[in-house]
Symmetry: C2
Subunit: 395 residues, 2 copies
């Protein structure tokens, strides 16, 4: 069975073709700068790597290029578009409607569209990807896997904000949570490794976006991203937690419009606002060269993660494992060391030598004395989407 | 020595006269609804209680009434205005200038005034109180005790927000912290009780405003109120932590102005927004009668406090005591029970029987098995202001 996984952003389209159930990757790639003259099309199989720069006006043209490439007589992978059995779509916002992976119907599309007010940058792009895929792969089953779905198990006392009920209950202003596919994927691997009937886990996803989840017996019970993906940890360009009064103060004091402040909080804050760089590798290099700003930014970043670890250890009232994942979590020896330092009161002790890895599979880097397992687990959201898509049609 | 402590709000003036160093209260009182025809003047000595309703147009007239009453031949306390040695003023915002109690000079007043942009409701009222007191008690020394001062020991990685440096460093947008006088007062009592050279304490001030402080060796190292007194815990009418994106969403979706949203977040949220009541006694009564909203609000409130306890236990990497104080902290048996339930992983176990108190002095309510002391310590901000004011002139 062949499953195409699509992750459609506002100006990009990532894709990966899996042979299932053996989870072999047949090809993968990305289209960037959709809508521009110099869009970039990258396509990779086990044999070839193709890169083309040309005008790609919209997602439809982009996905047609993917399809054409898949079908190419020389470098292609499949014989006909009908060879694709399932297209699994990453959809960012499922609101409170979707707590599971769902086959896409007209009704599901209408709901994804209606949720655009909660995810104005993401849901319309996801929907675009769905409609283009329906046209190009008409025989395939279309499936939506929601970033928010895993967090639908969060209880009301945790997802509700202390604002007037008319806004929260009647207008759906609440914590939704994101990165659910990643947190679910790595937590399941961790639970398998722990091999316990009951488990208390904190998953720490540190990529360009960063988030943490408190997971009890496999279910998300709290999460650091909230109503939007700006809350919580310090990210590449997003502020994470800030006192909300700052927004009122900035508007008044600097005469900024709300949309200007929103842009500052979402695109010019976080590590970028603190250091001038959003890429962790550059920040780490500067810090190593003695740059004080970069060092402070790393301190702040790790400090915030520590606070969330403590907070989730409290509500879980116990802890079996913490899991580092995504670009920074999997690769930054330094960030893991910072986060785990002086947390022995919570039972967390890192083995500094074992930690010196960038593993491609689950790796236990806890010290012998650690009560809590410290794990690195490479995430794979595309594979998780493929798996869930196949799972849906099992019965 | 006689020390008059003044706490001057936008439409109120609280006062307390101490005999020092014996800390005897000679009289106390409050003026409410300043600026209205039906302002209320309350004055209490050991012998008399006086209550008058009349027009009090401004703070000056109010403080003159206090002075007249103090000097009254029959019900008064002092012979001449010069009998007051020190007037200690509560000042809300000391910015980054003041990390200690300070004698008030023209320069200090200018700084308090300049800080009004950070505390528009409080600092102008505090300054008004200072200037009126200078006129009425010209022989007395005038002292400012800042709500923010105790938190000036918070390190940069904790007080800085992950917004662009131009706003944080150049325009002083950072965590300041509040309720410092209360946190300092109760933490000193706790440290005395613990009798340890090094101590790790979390103080939990639950009044109309609510806040928590992580205190290491007597110094504040982190705090839940931030740039403004709206962050952190769920309060009587303030939201505490919310995803900042909610503000942008509310403005766009409901066509609300920023000042309307600010009012919602500050005055219509918190327990009021969740239950229709801001007074904890009414909410607790409703919850006891089975009201689901009230029960949820109490759950949310306690849950948020638990999360901060965990977060501070993490950054302290240890915990000797948690301290409950202020109206709710001292009196609500139920809230303390909720907060401490299922926190044994952090070493916190409450003795449910001992907890059934509303003590007027430090009371240890930890279970025998508790590694962490659970303490109730009545706060006394006025006494702390009087003490610090006297201390200032010791040498
Ligand atoms: N060796 C490394 N050391 C530190 N950070 C790394 C390393 N490799 C990648 N990263 C960081 O990972 C982040 C991107 O993570 P990723 O999970 O790919 O992001 P996304 O959220 O876009 O999926 C970047 O900040 C990058 O600098
Ligand atoms: N017996 C009680 N049980 C529960 N809450 C109480 C009790 N007594 C007072 N409170 C609460 O304490 C809060 C006021 O605390 P206080 O410290 O006086 O406030 P402020 O911040 O104005 O100084 C109110 O919410 C009130 O309901």
């Amino acid at each position: 069975m062949q499953v195409l996984v699509l992750n459609s952003g506002s100006s990009s389209l990532k894709f990966q073709l899996f042979s299932m159930p053996d989870t072999r990757i047949l090809c993968s790639g990305i289209i960037e700068r959709i809508g521009f003259e110099d869009a970039i099309f990258k396509f990779k199989t086990n044999k070839d790597t193709i890169e083309v720069v040309e005008s790609i006006p919209n997602h439809k043209v982009g996905l047609q290029m993917v399809s054409k490439q898949l079908l190419d007589k020389d470098t292609g992978i499949i014989k006909s578009a009908d060879a694709i059995d399932i297209v699994g779509h990453r959809v960012v916002h499922g609101g409170k409607h979707f707590s599971n992976t769902t086959e896409i119907t007209a009704n599901v599309k209408a709901k994804i569209k209606a949720l655009s007010s909660l995810a104005p940058l993401h849901n319309p792009a996801n929907l675009e990807g769905i409609e283009v895929a329906e046209a190009i792969f008409p025989k395939a089953k279309q499936v939506a896997v929601f970033d928010t779905a895993f967090h639908q198990s969060i209880p009301e006392h945790a997802y509700k904000y202390a604002i007037p009920n008319e806004y929260s209950d009647m207008h759906n202003i609440r914590l939704y949570g994101f990165h659910g596919t990643s947190h679910k994927y790595v937590s399941e691997k961790a639970i398998e490794y722990l091999d316990k009937a009951h488990s208390k886990i904190i998953t720490i996803h540190l990529g360009n976006g960063c988030s943490m989840t408190a997971i009890k017996d496999g279910k998300s019970i709290d999460h650091s991203l909230g109503f939007s993906p700006v809350n919580g940890l310090i990210m590449g360009t997003r502020s994470g937690d800030v006192d909300p009064s700052i927004i009122f103060h900035m508007a008044e004091r600097f005469n900024l419009s709300l949309s200007e402040i929103n842009t500052i909080i979402q695109k010019k804050s976080g590590m970028l606002g603190l250091t001038g760089h959003s890429d962790m590798r550059e920040i780490q290099a500067k810090a190593d060269n003695g740059d004080k700003n970069a060092q402070l930014a790393l301190d702040m970043n790790a400090y915030r993660i520590k606070k969330y670890i403590g907070s989730y250890a409290a509500i879980l009232n116990g802890l079996d494992a913490i899991v580092f994942t995504a670009g920074i979590g999997e690769n930054s020896v330094d960030m893991r060391r910072r986060v785990c330092s002086e947390l022995n009161y919570l039972g967390i002790v890192l083995d500094e030598d074992k930690n010196k890895v960038r593993p491609d599979k689950l790796t236990d880097v806890s010290a012998e004395t650690s009560i809590v397992k410290v794990l690195i687990i490479p995430t794979n959201e595309e594979l998780e989407i493929a798996k869930q898509s196949v799972e849906l049609f099992k019965n």
